[in-house]
Symmetry: C2
Subunit: 198 residues, 2 copies
DNA sequence: GCTCTTCTAGGTAGATCGCTCTAGCAGGCT
DNA sequence: AGCCTGCTAGAGCGATCTACCTAGAAGAGC
């Protein structure tokens, strides 16, 4: 049986998928409506601002979904260090399963629009800020001070994003796993881990 | 007085500049010949393989140039740790000077082509491998063992690449500076630094 | 039943895409 | 000179891009 997903949501989902693989400029609106099984007119009905509005909403929606994934993995782990470990391992597994296609949902777009569209650049900045805020919250809750938590979070996400680039290019999870080990070691050193010394 | 730079080199340079800011799909060939002050016919004379051949050569040329920059900075520093510090500081300075446009010369393209063009993906992989090999060489020369050197190098470049994404999106050098501090600390800890303890 | 709003449906415009084509120019060779 | 090669020069091809347009279907409220 078929559940009727609203056209607007189908467009958002399809665009998100296409953005990961082909980026912003590489994704055509024809391609979007084809993937979403939606008529072309509906696109401009739901997103009168055109491609830029669609892009902005997709960036924020994808960012929110990835944030929820992060929170879920962290919630399911006994302590922040174990959570980070699981998060990186999950990322590596996803990379392999999707033939190195699904990594960060907004990284490609973020680099593309950073110097071409101020509105979209702001959307990506907001997403990254929300991730950093969420990570910082986790570490402060584990007893670290604000500055240290923020620093640790930024190091973690920069490591992850950079590792995604190298891993997708070289088709190897080595970089992601190393970045994960690095983040785990830094977090444990800072005192965010369980009391056991490995 | 005008120095006659060969058309082929002008095209390569102009394409490299455009790739940094607009990415692969975002850069049109008309735009390239306009920026290079070259006629359209010359482009297909020098690059009969079209956009993909041009892209491949630009990726490799840009990667080689960035590698040379890395070697230069490292050569100018008393030890690898100081070199890393200078490299990250230089990257942060360049970001600010270019209004957060010039970061990694191939990162945007690497993410764009990772799942769309096998030939170009291989070119980006070769570039990253060359950087990793160069960094590994530096650390082994400083006395570290092979595995440790490679790990340190990958952590450094993943940190740099990821920090570039966050920094360009948020228009702040915070991520790059943090990633630099992280790389410096890791290298010093591993024993690649000068003998002084900061 | 009737109207009004919301959404679907797709045709069409105008610009731009990557690419191919032919013509012409400059300089070294025999 | 005559020829040949390497390169410049740009018009123009079919395809695709984003964006806009009008027409009709679906459903709520009166």
């Amino acid at each position: 049986m078929w559940v009727p997903v609203p056209t607007r949501d189908r467009i958002l989902d399809a665009t998100g998928q296409l953005f990961r693989r082909h980026g912003y400029t590489g994704t055509g609106l024809k391609q979007v409506v084809a993937a979403a099984h939606a008529p072309f007119g509906s696109l401009y009905h739901h997103f009168p601002g055109g491609k830029e509005q669609l892009g902005g909403e997709v960036i924020r929606a994808s960012g929110r979904m990835y944030l929820e994934l992060f929170e879920m993995v962290m919630d399911a782990s006994p302590d922040p260090v174990a959570g980070i470990e699981a998060f990186f391992e999950g990322a590596a597994a996803t990379l392999e399963e999707t033939d190195y296609a699904d990594a960060c949902p907004i990284a490609t777009v973020a680099l593309e629009v950073a110097s071409t569209s101020e509105a979209l650049r702001e959307a990506t900045a907001e997403v990254f800020d929300s991730w950093i805020a969420a990570g910082t919250r986790r570490f402060t809750a584990a007893g670290l001070n604000e500055a240290c938590s923020r620093q640790l979070t930024i190091e973690m996400f920069t490591g992850l994003e950079g590792a995604f680039i190298l891993s997708r290019a070289t088709r190897s999870t080595e970089a992601v796993l190393l970045a994960g080990a690095r983040a785990v070691a830094s977090a444990r050193e800072a005192g965010a881990g369980g009391s056991d010394v490995r």
